[in-house]
Amino acid sequence: MSGILNEYRAFLDRVLPADYDERYHEYRHDEELRTAFQAACFDHGWLVPEWPPELGGHSLPLPEALAVRIEGARRRVPRYMNIQSVGVVAPALRVFGTPEQQEKYLRPTLRGEAWWALGMSEPDAGSDLASLRTTAVLADRGFVVNGQKVWTTQADRSRWCTLYVRTDPEAPKHRGISCLIVDMDSPGITIRPIRTAGPTIDDFCEVFFDDVVVPSESLLGELNGGWKVAMASLEHERDMIWINNWMEMRRALEPVLRMGEVPQHRAVDLGRLLGDMEAIRLTGLRSVANRTLSRPDPLPGIMKLFGSEAVKVAAALALDLAGNGDPSDVRLFDESLESMAATIYGGTSEIQRNIIAERILGLPKGG
């Protein structure tokens, strides 16, 4: 284990700038560095360590792959520019993609050369994703798509999109959805960026589809099997979610810890958040232990709610305590704003609580 970690550490020392730690807050937003880092990770097998070398990995067993990711989090490595391409799209392509699709898309996707949008939310289908209404009708020339997506992260900079569309309007709502791979340069697509409340919120867009023709071989997974693709591709994220939240906790609390002391009446709040931080890591490890030993693993169900809520409280405490009431607080405010996105995207905290109650505790479907 330590052999592979040392190899990874040496790689990081080689590719990260010498002053990376000192100037972390600048490098965090350095698009050039982040892009180059992802490509280097792919080329040297550190991008998805459990995958084979041709897909940017080292073919590592899960625990070792995880140790690499945890080390990356400790070193606060640069974030990939278009995180969903590595975390959501590539795993879906591996599971559901045809050999031709894998050949065409995987390499540029993983290397960060081509970005992806996740075409999921619609104006009337947010938390209730399965009620989506964008349609695709199969005609001679392929699928003809009409409808609208919204809150589509980075759609304006994406090359492709995994677009969830209704292909069977008669079927029960979960069973009439398909996933199409759509070229974002196709005629009939209009993308309107939405101005975000602050610079730390990843750009999102409205996307309109007006008789957009998508070749029939662009179907990802089975026809009307889109719900399965959506659920399975989010599964892969489970370890990324807790490792990322653990790293975000460390980052959020850093300005507070750097103060050296906090008012006595806030020390309990700080201690509780440090407890959250450790518990995020340990719960993640328990989950991995369950999977490694082939035990049932209900823990991923709580990780998103637990981690994202904790980060939000931590960022708010940092703004409360480390803020001086002067313009230098802007960064703390922006980070607090950023933390507010994570309890909304990828399933709101309210939906997460429903899921925990229904699937883990066995309570009836709510109303």
């Binding site: 050296g260 201690g271 609580r353 009836p364």
Partner: protein, 348 residues
Amino acid sequence: MSEGVTTASSGVDGVAWEHLIPGDEVREFAATVRARLTSHHPTTALLRLTEGAEPTLEGWDDLVALGILSIGLPEELDGLGTLADLAIVTEEVGRSLVPLPVTTTAAAVHTLIRAGLEPDPTAPTALAVDGGARPLRIFDGLFAGTVVLVSSDGDGTMIRHLAVADRTTPSSQIDATRPTVTIEPGDVVAEVRVGATFDEVLGPARVVVAADLVGVADLALEMTVAHALDRHQFGRPIGSFQGVMHQLADAHVALERARSLVRGAASALVTGPDAHETVRLTLLAKAAASEVAVSATALRTQLLGAMGLTFESDNHLSLRRARATAPFLGKAADLYARVAALYLEDRE
């Protein structure tokens, strides 16, 4: 459980899998403990104690024979397994609300071991923090033949193992199954000053008590979910209302949070008892477990409605257990504040 095993055979980030989730042997043992404790100490017996029935040590020898108190002891004391195994089994002790000083004796025994003193794991033993106040109030000390007193002593810590010469038991108790008594200390069995800090010495004891409290919360949540499925209002189970569902979901997260900290702390005590982060994890484990025991039993009380406030309901037994045990070896807020101070010291 194999004897004296401390291997970290496989795992990640310094934590062994078998510390985080119980192996087959430990799971089987925990199931045996659960069955034994539930059948020997039914709710009716616990309610009689609350009404003033004379507590007895009945069942103690059984539990000693079963080996609960041997878990995590060193080999020369015929120990089995690790402190991580003890944490998992102690959850069962907590769940059962057993009216015997198992958890507190384990806490005292592991404090003696931490201090390098020899325990008698077959004899009820109490543990207390000695802040200098007299008379000495001892939690769960009704049957203790001896008491382990821990006090800060400059940079180090003083551990004194004393006989109990005399004891007074106030008739009014929050938790009659773990009464707080006043004692007159007798002969010194052993005493030692160690260089380890007060929090380092109390680490194993805090993890044991925390595991007990996780068990209390686990039982409360399980019973509350069962009630939410069973109880119908407006023509549907109350557990189908989001106002109820979301509270139970949050309670579940809090429970797993505490359980992860307890197991992580126990693992740290096995693999690196003197490591920098170990003491923090033990403080956090106890803080989180104290909090969730109190909050989960309070949530159960709310969701049971008026029924939860009756004597016949076993609910108040859990509530009493949580409230009486939670402050033992440090209240949640104080422990959290202590952890904050330790992290802040690092950055100065």
